[in-house]
Amino acid sequence: MNEERRRVFISGNEATAEGGIAGGCRHFFGYPITPQNKIPEYMAEHLPPIGGVYLQAESEVAAINMVYGASSAGARVMTTSSSPGIALMQEGLSYMLGSELPAVIVNMVRGGPGLGNVAVAQSDYWLSTRGAGHGDGRCITLTPYSVQELHNFTAGAFEIADRYQNIVMVLGDAILATMMEPCELIPRREMEPPGRPYAVGPHEAGERERNIVNSLWVDFDAMEAVNIRNEERYARAAAEITDWEEFGSDDPQVLLCAYGISARLCEGAVMRAEEAGVRLRLLRPKTVFPFPTVPIREWSERVDAMLVVELSMGQFVEDVRLAVEGRCPVDLLSRAGGNMPTVSEVLAKVREVAAKAGVAV
C-alpha cells in the first residue's frame, strides 16, 4: 500500500541527509566543507535523538576511515563531502573496495583543481567513475538531477551498496546541493542491527566462522580473485541497475547527453527546441557507473550528431564517445570554474553541431 508521503520544500543538502536516514543510515561521519555543510548539520541535529551517531571527524581522511570501520562492523554508514574532501578520501575508498565493503558517499562537486571555489562544477566525473584511489576497484556512481532524486538516490544507495558489497557514490554539485525544490519524503527506515555475514563484531563461540576484514593479499591469486569478484559485481550491476531517462523528440536529429545539473539545462533546451529548428532529444544517465552504453550506442546509429554538455573540460564526454565508437560525431559544450552555459548557448551549439553534421537548419 502506498504510504502517505510528506511533500516538503527543501534544499538538496537536506533532501540528501534525510535520504540517508530514510535509507536506514544511523551512522554518519563527516567533516565540514562548503557547499554541503547543511548535510552534517542536519545529521548532527537529527541522528542523536533517534539513537543514531553523528561524529565530526578531525579530517576527511579520518571520516572515511571511520566509515570503513563502521562498515566492517556491519552498519549502514555514510559520509558526505565536496571535491577537495573527496580527494582526501581516496585512500579509504580504495581500502573499502579491496575489503569488499558497502558504504554511501555523497560528493557535492565544486570548482577545482586545488582549493578552487565553492561554485558549481562537474569536474569530479573521473574521480568518481575511475577514481576510488589506487587499484582496480570502482564506485557505483549515481547522478541525480533534482532535489527529489538526491533524496531518492541517497536512500536507495544503501540497498545497492549492500547488494553489491561495494561503495556507492552519489554525484551531486554545488547547485543541486543548495537549490530548493519540492520533495516527497520517503518514510524513515528502521536501522538494521549490524549483523552482516561478513562483518566483524561480537558473536557467540561456534556461532559462525571468525570474520576477517582485510585488503592485504600477499598471495597473487588471492589478490586477483578480489579483483575478479569486483569485476563480476560491476558486470551484474551493469545488467541490473543501469538507469537513464530520455526526453524529447522520438525522431531526433541531435541527441543531447548530460547528467546532473547540466541535464537540467539540456531539458530546458529540449523544451525550447523549436527555436533551434532541430529535432532534439535528451538522454540523461541516472547511473554513470554502470554507464548506459547500450541506449547511447543505439541512438548513435539513428541521430546525425550528439552534443554533450558538462561543467568540466571534458570528462563525461569520453564515456559517451566510448559508447558511440565513432558511429556519429560527438561534440562537447563545456564550461568550468563555476560558469554554466545558458539554455540559449546550448541551443546555439545544437544548431552549430547540426549544421556541421549536414542537418538542414
Binding site: Y31, P32, T34, N37, P40, E41, Y54
Partner: protein, 198 residues
C-alpha cells in the same frame, strides 16, 4: 602562497628549506591547525622548523559557517553541536600550546587574547618575539591568538570580547609557555657546513 586546508606547516617547511634566509610564517585557524592539520603542526614543531605560526583560535569553523572545532568549549552551541558540545560525544577542547610545549623542538610558544588594548599590545609583543626567534635562527615559534567570532557565537562584538575574557581564558590560559632557543643547536632549515655530511 596558499596551502591546502591544514597543510600550512608542511608547505612552509618546503619553502623554508629552499629559502632558509627568507621570513616564513603560516596563518592558521583552529579548524585548520588543530583539526585537519594536527599532524603537520606537531611534526613541524617537533622538527623545530625555523618559521612562525600565527594561530587564530576562535573556537569554531568560521569560514564554513560555524561548525564545531576541536577548540570549541564544552557546552558551546555550534551548527554541528546544536545541543552544545558534550565530552561524551565529541571529546574535550584541545589546548594546542600546552600540547606543543611537551616537545623539544619549539623555541617560542605563547597564547594571547585580542580583547582589551593591554592584551592586544601584549599579543603584538609575542608576535614580534616569535618573528625575532625566527630571524635569530632559534627555531619554531607559535603565537595562539584567542579571537572573537560574533557571527557564529551568536553574540554582538562586545559580548564576544567579554566571552573571551570571562570564559575562554579559563580553559585557554594566557601565557608565554616557552621562550628559549630550540634544544638542538642547529636550527632546522639551515645547511651544515659544506662537506660535513660526507
Amino acid at each position: 602562497m596558499q596551502a591546502a586546508h591544514g597543510r600550512g606547516p608542511a608547505v612552509a617547511t618546503g619553502i623554508k628549506r629552499v629559502h632558509p634566509d627568507s621570513v616564513v610564517f603560516t596563518y592558521q585557524g583552529d579548524g585548520d591547525l588543530a583539526s585537519i592539520g594536527m599532524a603537520e603542526i606537531v611534526h613541524a614543531a617537533s622538527r623545530g622548523e625555523n618559521f612562525t605560526v600565527i594561530f587564530i583560535n576562535n573556537a569554531v569553523f568560521g569560514m564554513t559557517q560555524g561548525q564545531m572545532a576541536p577548540t570549541t568549549l564544552i557546552g558551546q552551541k555550534t551548527t554541528t553541536s546544536p545541543r552544545g558540545r558534550t565530552a561524551a560525544e565529541a571529546g574535550w577542547p584541545i589546548r594546542i600550546c600546552e600540547l606543543l610545549d611537551t616537545l623539544e623542538g619549539p623555541a617560542y610558544i605563547a597564547r594571547e587574547a585580542l580583547t582589551t588594548p593591554p592584551r592586544i599590545r601584549s599579543a603584538k609583543k609575542s608576535i614580534r618575539r616569535a618573528f625575532e626567534a625566527q630571524l635569530a635562527g632559534e627555531g619554531f615559534g607559535i603565537v595562539e591568538l584567542l579571537s572573537t567570532c560574533p557571527t557564529w557565537w551568536g553574540m554582538d562584538p562586545l559580548e564576544a570580547i567579554r566571552h573571551i575574557d570571562d570564559t575562554m581564558v579559563e580553559h585557554y590560559p594566557l601565557r608565554v609557555f616557552r621562550d628559549r632557543p630550540a634544544a638542538h643547536d642547529r636550527p632546522a632549515g639551515q645547511q651544515e657546513e659544506a662537506g660535513s655530511d660526507a
